[in-house]
Amino acid sequence: MAATARTYAQPSVKKRPTKSRLFWLRFRRNRLAVAALCFIIVEVLLALFAPWVAPYDPYRGDFTATWQTPNGLHWLGTDDLGRDVLSRLIYGARISISVGVLSQLVIALVGLPIGALAGLKGGWIDYAVMRIIDVLSSLPALLFYVLLMVALGAGFGNLILAMTATGWIGIARLVRGQVLSLKETDYVRAARAMGGGTRHIMRTHLLRNTTTPVIVALALGIPGAMFAEAGLSFLGVGIPSPQASWGQMIGMYQPYIRTAWHLTVFPAAVLAVTMLAWFLLGDGIRDALDTGSAARNE
């Protein structure tokens, strides 16, 4: 009966769009997200090709041209050592973007297996993981970062390490919750009834159904990590001095805001716009992913 019913409904099977194509079609509808993506692409390119793009060496000062306000030679002015602000901003993008992206990758690498293990195995492993998470999340995050950075010393690697030390709990908690609820679904039951082992279930059902929320959490974590880097560098415990970081520039030159406003306002503006762009991009990714089956599966 159903077989006859579908003879007149002939869907064009060949032309069904793939999942990534569907994602792109949905993402494209969000104008803000597309604009943010364009901005980010430009910024990433600038950061990648910084040595060729930057008009000056960001580390070499020119003692004949210190404290210059924006002018024809130095579009965004120079700092106390005569270093070009624009060049330092471009090199600062390298720090900001790489801290944002790299920290999220490391966090995923640590948090995902821990969360999956806790959710799958349960028992004492789950108990131990949850207690560690309880304690770590009772610490004010920024305070803990500061303490860690003071202990470890300023620097790029330590920054990633400090962020991972507390950052993994978010992903672990998310993955654990997903695994726990997915474990109780009928399709995982069905897979077990067929004789599917833990490995099979993990690969076929759990990972596939956890990717979306994990990707969203990581994408939205990037601006968060950028904020942490900027904040720590602002306080003087993030990226150490000769290297250029936006937060560090704001922190170092804020006391001179009356005399040399360009040294703090430009990095502040760039940081604000960058964080907004990454947030809008993450938001757009979430909206484009979070439809249909994923929402009903919740």
Partner: protein, 326 residues
């Protein structure tokens, strides 16, 4: 009725028990035990349908999941095709799983939303390493056609189908390994009434074709009688009456079964009289009454029912009832 019968027992449960313990929420809380399935003995013969009816919460679904070994049995034994599978685990259980599959109540929830129909129906074949990729695709195609869907549905996702079609996919997946027993847990209760009959007919056709045995679980005694040769009635984890469908529907002996039969909608209003006298709701599993668990709702209850738990006893050929007054 429909399928050729044989006397060979395929599945037997002997005093099967499943209980859950929950801990109270507060610090140092006490453990509370809930016996969901209480010393249940049943048997399903090759190619036969055994119906299992009862209200929601009576333990029929738990029984199905325990027989499937998706829950660990707390007591009793499960014998499948002459083999005791109560304690089998891992590798030893896998060949048994091939022969025993399940159809779930909520078809959408039982299909992974991120897999295509081909992947879903092919999943059991992948798990058991059957055939090459191309062979599996052919197998999926013929299964799809067998349950009334088309080959062009292979690349779609479950959410693109109606509830009835989703259940067909679930049935095709259950059939992929050519099992001998299918546990159908309320396979039609989530579906529209118009679709229910189609799915029930499909299940009956498949039974003939593949010589399947069904353990058919439902809260609807009419549907169960339509599908089954024999019926077991469950109340609070206990089987209170078993017999041929005819006996259960036409001459129910247990007061609870009478109430279930009387609750079936009757097209002729002049005959719609509920004279069972059953009152109230199902008792809490944790607060199970002493003696006969049905006595709190039973019109016949006497002091004897408080102290003495009635056991199943034969009242007619193939008809057993657990009631002091039957």
């Amino acid at each position: 009725m429909s399928a050729p019968q044989s006397d060979e027992t395929l599945l037997e449960t002997i005093g099967l028990t499943k209980s859950f313990t929950t801990r109270r929420a507060s610090f140092g809380g006490k453990r509370v035990e809930h016996v969901a399935v209480n010393r249940v003995s049943l048997s399903v013969r090759e190619g036969e349908t055994l119906g299992l009816v009862g209200e929601s919460g009576c333990g029929k679904t738990t029984l199905g999941l325990t027989v499937m070994r998706l829950y660990e049995p707390s007591g009793g034994r499960i014998v499948f095709a002459g083999q005791d599978i109560t304690r089998l685990a891992g590798r030893a259980l896998k060949p048994v799983r091939r022969q025993m599959q399940m159809v779930f109540q909520d078809p959408f929830a039982s299909l992974d939303p991120r897999l295509t129909v081909e992947q879903i129906i092919g999943e059991p074949l992948v798990i058991h390493g059957t055939g090459t990729r191309a062979e599996r695709a052919t197998a999926v195609e013929s299964l799809l056609e067998r349950v009334g869907l088309g080959a062009d549905d292979m690349h779609r996702y479950p959410s693109e189908f109606s509830g009835g079609q989703q259940q067909r996919i679930g049935i095709a997946r259950a059939l992929a390994l050519r099992p001998r027993l299918l546990i159908c847990d309320e396979p039609v209760s989530a579906l529209d009434v118009s679709v229910q009959a189609q799915i029930l007919n499909l299940l009956r056709d498949l039974q003939d074709e593949f010589r399947l045995a069904y353990l058919f679980i439902s809260h609807n005694i009419a549907v169960t009688a339509f599908m089954s040769r024999r019926i077991g009635v469950m109340y609070l984890g206990r089987v209170v009456e078993t017999g041929a469908s005819r006996q259960i529907v036409n001459a129910p002996r247990h007061p609870y079964t009478r109430a279930l039969v009387a609750a079936v909608p009757e097209p002729d209003p002049s005959r719609r009289v509920d004279e069972s006298g059953v009152r109230g709701d199902v008792a809490d599993l944790a607060g199970r009454p002493t003696g006969c668990s049905f006595r709190t709702r039973c019109p016949l209850a006497e002091s004897r029912c408080e102290t003495e738990e009635p056991q199943l006893r034969r009242v007619d050929k193939g008809h057993e009832v657990a009631c002091h007054f039957a």
